[in-house]
Amino acid sequence: MSTGELTMHASRTARWARPLAALVITAALIATPYYFAPFRVFQLTMVLLYAVVLAGLNLLVGYGGQISLGHGAFFAVGAYTAAVMLDRFTTGHLATLPVAAAGCFLLGLGFGVPALRLRGLYLALVTLAFAVFLPPLLKRFEHVTGGSMGLTVPKPQPPSWTGLAEDQWLYFLTLTVAAVTLLVVRNLLRSRVGRALLAIRENESAAEVMGVRLSFHKALAFAWSAMFAGVAGCLYTWVIGFVSPDSFSLNLSITLLAGLVVGGLASVYGPLLGAAFVMYVPNLAQDISPAAPGVVFGLLIIAVMYLAPTGLAGLAARARQGVRRCVEHLRHTRRRPEPASPAEQTGPPQPEPQPLTAPPTIGKG
């Protein structure tokens, strides 16, 4: 077999393999709610929902190198925007999504301004302040927010022509929003914004010298990130149908940050893995220790950080590289007489977004 043929063959395979893969994945995602029990579908819906907020947080923390301990609060703002609209103004569900997104975007922009002066730890603590302050504030404006009793709102009902059950419909809505979110985040990262963010993270001073508009991009990163948290919050209201101030405590913000770091910073799959961790691992913990699930959950977080200091996504990448090296080693020993094909000479492929080399610091400000 000549090298030319091999390449031709490979490219022909690639031409149909890629759309086929996309098709299969889409089919699997669409088929899921028809096969799984509603309870499983609900869990997957929550995973997708958390993935949306983590993807936004990843933009800020993973790629932007800034730390937020307040994303639970943006999530809450999104959730309450939707709930109040549904409760007071009885708008349709779809109308709540853009309002929640826009509201959180603007709020994030507002937070982006002090973020210009603050770095690392100090920014983290200012956002923490927001997360601490929001629940009592929500309780104070009782006539709008329902106070500490919270608000119960209707869930979106599937149109009758779809023939879907409620949990399936919610799954599809969340799936759509999550898919759009991941696409938007990907495109953002490939655009000038993404490159500017990376430059700022790697070396702020150098980036500024190179002509990156620091203040503009930092504030914008915050705004985008807050917007996705708001979108996820809005989905939360649709899916749960109930909001109360104490559901959005500081613990939520910390859990989200922990989820992202456990999943993997600055990685495409990190938010998905982190969302799955946040959703499923507490269940695992209570199966192991029903009396004190926190003991197991705490240990599992520490264990993941030991085994995969760069998160689960990093672990997956490492495993993949290990396997590839192993396979390549085998192939080389077997085909030593033949000249290496050009395809192999291109070397190990680079994963699309660069793995995190210089981590964001929560260190000295």
């Binding site: 309780k139 003991v295 981590p359 964001p360």
Partner: protein
Amino acid sequence: MSEFLQQVVEGVGAGSIYASLALALVLIHRFTGIVNFAQGELAMISTYVAWQLVASGMPFWLALPVTLAISFAGGMLIERLLIRPVEGAPELTIVIVTVGLFIFVNAAAGLIWSFTVKDFPQPFPEGSVALAGVDIGWSTLGVIGVVAVVMGLLYLLFQHTRTGLVMRAVAANPASARLSGIRMGRVLMLGWGLAATVGALSGVLVAPLLFLEPNMMGGALIYAFAAATLGGFDSPVGAVAGGLVVGVAETLAGAYVGFVGADLKIGVPLLIILVVLLVRPQGLFGRAAVERA
């Protein structure tokens, strides 16, 4: 007027609680550059150790030094066992390890000692002194006094001992310190040990006021964060000053500013922090980081 002063005293009392925990946070941050989310829970578990010792018949003033020694060893052990293995990892990874530790310690304390409020011995006399129409509880005075003593001891340690010099060198420039032959591992362990000891002292002091149960330090930790941020995260003096400012500000605002009220009083110190940070991003007493590009 005396009512106002009474509220100020109340604020100073609360502030000294925050200050003592903030001091522990700052100690760890100076040496390791991370924020220890588990600091409050470590203080809580140390307090349980003290409670257990007292409950098994040990007099309080003997149980205290034993607890402090156990906490010191425990802090060093945590650094060696939990933090060292992820030392080279991104700092955020280490911070999340402390979050895991927080969840673990809180649940473990609940499992071992249950969530029932424990009866913790009051080391200071009950009652209060009246000064110019203001009642100051002996316990409040006691906490303030001990925090002042701890500050003094830390000052002596850092400024007048060889160990202190080494520790300051590590805090100022870890890379150079390592190159000049300082054994970083030991210094970091010492830093964690000291922080755990200060935290333990803080827990034992506040337990009679806050009442001992596994969530005792959860709320105080948020205020301690605020105090440390306000003071500058690398300044022990700043931590104490920040704690007092936060305590007095929230108490006065809660009591006297009508629309703030007790429910939103936490917003006041947070607002002060925001304003201070916008003017001085490194906090009131912090050093500005000079960066080389």
